[in-house]
Symmetry: C2
Subunit: 356 residues, 2 copies
């Protein structure tokens, strides 16, 4: 039976990316060696890295003073690297608290300087994105999370600020057009729309760096990674390759405008079912709903496990909600076909007919 992968990350990837990556694990481009056993300094791998960088530059329309880095450690390492590199001890950074990942970013930043949480939706278990807030122009930077994977909320527009803008885009990067130029630092774990786990994309503007007084360990200093072109030490060559293939696929499919269109169609279809099916309720305020992670609860909580099983039996894997939210979460990243949405909707309707 065909499986539909609704995991929140590592998550579904295009079939042709999987097939090409699989081939290259045995042999890369007829070179007589595997992708995963060649040196990260070989010309073959450096070409892969450069192609991946070029795709990022084009898709995000970056300025020439914005560096593209491929790092390890996930967004969680960025939570500490960002303040380590750009926040002095007596300075203040502003953070928007829209979920657990934002809270984690805030916690780490507090080890390095002052943090002002300028708005939070913690009071309602993060079921909306705060909009009325003032970012103090004296803040060192403003940190946002563009999509909140656990809760299923997403910023529909980017804030206009006069101070450096820093964004965790882990779960919605490359799912819609974004004006990359507007950001001074963007970071994203690859394992949703960009590839598989093992690499973290960082885009950082040159003039943000070199201004803190503390000494930064070499591997935590963005400047070293820039200087070494992401080859300070051995990167996860496989994950960078999968990102390159995925970005190539995105461009082939029509780029971010095309991605946004299909992502909207998929999300609207599934939200329509959530809203019209008497058995289910959406978790997030309508205007803030994510096109990537669609969260919903079942109105008869005693049927939760039973619905999860029905979905599994129909091939829909990974729809159990995060324990902090409960209910269900359908993660429908770029590579999820409309067919997967239709199958899930079918399960919801059939289940409601039986148990409504």
């Amino acid at each position: 039976m065909k499986k539909y992968n609704f995991y929140s990350g590592p998550a579904i990837l295009p079939k042709e990316v999987l097939e090409q990556a699989s081939k290259s694990v045995v042999e890369l481009d007829n070179i007589g060696m595997s992708l995963i056993e060649i040196s990260h300094r070989s010309k073959e791998f450096v070409n892969i890295l450069e192609e991946a960088k070029q795709h990022v530059r084009e898709l995000l329309q970056l300025d020439s003073d914005q560096h593209v880095l491929f790092m390890q450690g996930g967004a969680s390492l960025q939570f500490c690297m960002i303040p380590y590199n750009i926040l002095n001890e007596h300075e203040t950074a502003s953070y928007l608290e829209t979920g657990v990942w934002a809270k984690k970013a805030i916690k780490e930043a507090r080890l390095f300087g002052n943090v002002e949480v300028i708005a939070s939706s913690a009071d309602t278990n993060f079921n909306y994105i705060p909009k009325k807030y003032l970012v103090p122009p004296t803040s060192k930077y403003f940190h946002i999370t563009t999509n909140n994977t656990i809760y299923g909320s997403q910023m529909q527009s980017m804030p206009e600020v006069t101070i450096p803008l820093v964004a965790d885009m882990s779960s919605d990067i490359f799912s819609r057009p974004v004006e990359g130029k507007k950001f001074d630092l963007i970071y994203a774990g690859a394992q949703k729309n960009m590839g598989t786990a093992g690499v973290t994309l960082v885009v950082v503007r040159d003039n943000l760096l070199g201004k803190v007084k503390r000494q930064i360990p070499t591997i935590l200093d963005y400047r070293t990674h820039i200087k070494e072109n992401s080859l300070l030490n051995t990167p996860c060559t496989f994950a960078i390759y999968v990102s390159m293939l995925t970005l190539r696929w995105i461009k082939k499919m029509g780029g971010l405008v095309a991605m946004e269109k299909i992502n909207e169609e998929k999300a609207i279809k599934l939200y329509n079912e959530i809203d019209s099916n008497p058995l289910f309720t959406g978790v997030i305020a309508k205007q803030d709903r994510s096109r990537m992670n669609l969260t919903f609860t079942i109105n008869k909580p005693e049927l939760e496990e039973s619905f999860n099983n029905a979905a599994k039996e129909a091939g829909c894997i990974g729809i159990k909600g995060h324990r902090l939210v409960g209910g269900f979460r359908a993660s429908i990243y770029n590579a999820m076909p409309m067919e997967g949405i239709d199958v899930l909707i079918g399960v919801m309707r059939e289940f409601a007919a039986k148990n409504g």
Copy 2:
């Protein structure tokens, strides 16, 4: 033409590991989904992680108070994490300086406390391992690099010390039996004998931790990774899987005793050629020569490029020496077959006959 991969890392892997990994990138164990798109918290992946841990425990014969962690960031991240976690500002750690990677470890440790370099072979471009040194019993820990990838030197026996012993085993772990119990912290990037790039093995003894006064960022704190069983955030699932397969292969081949035997046979054969061929000279003092990375120079430097090309034409890839040493380096990790050694020896003889 068959290629023999002499790269220093990412490096050669067993063919059956590559083939199994390749299959799993399309579909893991008939689950209808790819290894690289399933959640790191899925039961399928947690089983992979647990099997990998178990292999490490058995192969290194660890005590129950030694934790096995799979992390990201390479050995270079460990250079800063180790002192961050176990060296207070006014304490001193002892380091043995046997190469560039040891120097890098020393540089990072100095950001966190005092470092005493108790012996160094820097004076002779690290062509031997210092042996006459005293480790001060008041030091917080003693740090060694068991194999120096760039220079081709290797510790033939482990030091006996009364203070915690910390070892970077990146380039020779799992190549020979090691009494894991003797170490308080072992770390190793996977991309030589253990798998591919993207995961770093850390083995840390419980009572080493929780003794520094500074606050440690969450992701740099070993205790968080222990508590979360290496799933604090999304690990590089693919690289952990490849490590699991490689460790499974090592056990199937007879474990570390068998690995040591074949590695010795391969190294002796190639060193014999280096020593008997009038055109080549070994770089490292005989008693300290590495069984993993065999370095040698050509006695007619004007023929260096020409020999490198002859090797390439015979299918021997990656034998160019590191720029800090020059000449040649044959990295012959566990998965290098004797056939590869024979082909390289053939090239050396033929080249000497023509140019000797």
